[in-house]
Point group: C2
Chain length 346, copies 2
């Protein structure tokens, strides 16, 4: 009798391992498929102008919790996280499709709120909602958004094109979205223990907004273009700085060094990390969902970028053999680990 | 005290009503957004060549039942239903993104089967898989596919451009996919009653394949191009002939007449309708999921299309005031009703 073959649990691979496993044998056939799986967006086109295409899923119970997620913010965020992917290719988003699968527990008024948020994001970023699918779900709310952008072919910025000695830069601050999530989870727990209790959210507006209503950093692309700087590589921070800088490192076949004292961490994040007794460096490295731009620039562009508001230089690329690590304030070298948010292991 | 406002159940609107309600106020802003919501695909671009973009969701428990759906077929179908939308715009699909949200009950081997099906569809239709998202779900399997195609701008065929007296044509046969579904549902019921029972599927291969592994009718587009016929309007049949011909009628501001004796119905479908004691005309009109092309052509193209294999002329467009109906074999006029498959009412 044949022995029953043992099946492999998805958790053994994790999200990145699974995607790598499932897509490693793809060979692109169409001349218009310039870049497929493996970057923030696919690159499609024939001439000097190309189209960028990216898709993200947002799943109730995995990516958001209806207990504390306003539907309007959720619709906004679902669009913005895709616009952020287009931005991370140095492109301009112009269209989105917005697809929703929802159970009968949602009323029309609830879905209107969701769409209001999506439309607000479209208006804010000058994007058109051009399609989508709307259908029932047996349970919960599933959102699938595809964004389409344009770029000049020779100005698309990939993940795998960083060069040795390039400066590593990041926009905004890191770890705040994660701290916003911790506040919401804390208040959910308190509410469950005592439904009469008022949530303690006041004073945390910045962190909550970072979690619930992130923005795509189009302003940073404009500032870079204004300074005549084209990044050598770029990615948006969705899984956490550590995980995302490692994507640039691995795909560019380089090592990298980050400096703890250069990491941009907001005062509110600092303070809350003390309250929660967690390291703000951990929040910055592994928190995820910041939707900031992480990019590399040539050393000779230092003068052009050093005074741009909202950009921090946090390290540099090195030889692959040197590995990827963080230098702490005490001068210790700690190897980076992609402990980023991995929904498949939840 | 303020009266609590009554919330509106989604079932009151249905899928088409909900989409119409949520998208009616969209105003396209970007010059590249040539056509938004309301056709089989959005049309995007600046020059003579345009891009077509379409998205479809396939949800476990709504669109498919894991009891009788082989995962390889499901992956194939998820891609094909999107390619069919691109075909219905007279475009050539070149890329897809394939996104999956799945619960931990699925093993790696199961997901490999799903992707094998998706890749087989990509290979069969010369399409590249260029991206997607892979994430956990709290329960069940959710698939979101976006297809991107190309077309010459002046050869894109919309739904709203049929003209009075145009001939209404359909490819292949109608109602077979629905009958395939009825067989599968019958055997599921029998299996639940008696798990020892062998499913009675033999002899129904054609109908089962129509349900489980549909194809996009690229061959019909080639035949039409070969005969130098450009349809005046086109849609693919996903919701059922009645529902889909009414889309063309409403959007073109025309009426239409279909003839029962012209409807292409396969012998297997005919026979099974007798066994199930349902009308084969009902199956053809309202079954859905045939993924055949429904299109209109000018009267003067009659000679060019009448001998093309796999195309049936089933009626003609008329004045809006004449309404939309079917003439039965007995000469009765029956008003068409969009009783098509409406997942939100399930």
């Amino acid at each position: 009798m044949a022995e029953k073959k043992k099946l492999t649990a998805l958790s053994e691979l994790g999200e990145f391992g699974l995607i790598e496993h499932l897509t490693k044998n793809i060979k692109l056939k169409n001349a218009s498929s310039l870049k497929g799986v493996g970057d923030d967006a696919a690159v499609i086109g024939e001439g000097d102008g190309v189209k960028l295409v990216t898709t993200d899923l947002l799943i109730e119970g995995i990516h958001f919790d209806m207990v504390y997620t306003p539907l309007r913010h959720l619709g906004y965020k679902a669009v913005v996280v895709n616009l952020s992917d287009i931005a991370a290719m140095n492109g301009k988003a112009e269209q989105v499709t917005f697809s929703v699968s929802l159970s009968s527990k949602y009323s029309l008024e609830a879905i209107e709120e969701l769409y209001k948020g999506a439309y607000l994001a479209c208006e804010t970023y000058g994007v058109d909602l051009v399609g989508g699918d709307t259908t029932a779900s047996p349970a919960g709310l599933f959102i699938a958004v595809t964004a389409i952008g344009t770029a000049e072919k020779d100005r698309v910025v990939y993940r795998n094109t960083a060069r040795k000695n390039d400066l590593i830069c990041v926009s905004g601050d890191l770890g705040s979205a994660y701290m916003g999530l911790l506040i919401l989870e804390r208040e959910k727990k308190a509410y469950k223990a005592n439904p009469e209790m008022q949530p303690r959210l006041s004073g945390h507006e910045y962190l909550l907004e970072r979690q619930l209503k992130p923005e795509a950093r189009i302003d940073i692309l404009k500032a870079l273009a204004g300074a005549k700087v084209l990044p050598t590589a770029m990615i948006d921070i969705s899984d956490g700085l550590a995980s995302d800088v490692m994507h640039i490192g691995k795909q560019s076949r380089l090592g990298c060094t980050l400096y703890e004292d250069k990491l941009p961490i907001n005062q509110d994040t600092m303070k809350l990390c003390q309250d929660f007794d967690i390291s703000s460096v951990t929040a910055a490295l592994n928190g995820g969902e910041d939707y900031e731009l992480l990019f590399t620039v040539a050393q000779e562009d230092y003068e052009k970028i050093k005074d741009i508001m909202g950009i921090s230089i946090i390290g540099h690329m090195s030889d692959f053999s040197e590995g990827m690590h963080l230098v702490t304030k005490l001068g210790q070298q700690i190897a980076l680990q992609a402990q980023g948010w991995d929904a498949l292991k939840k």
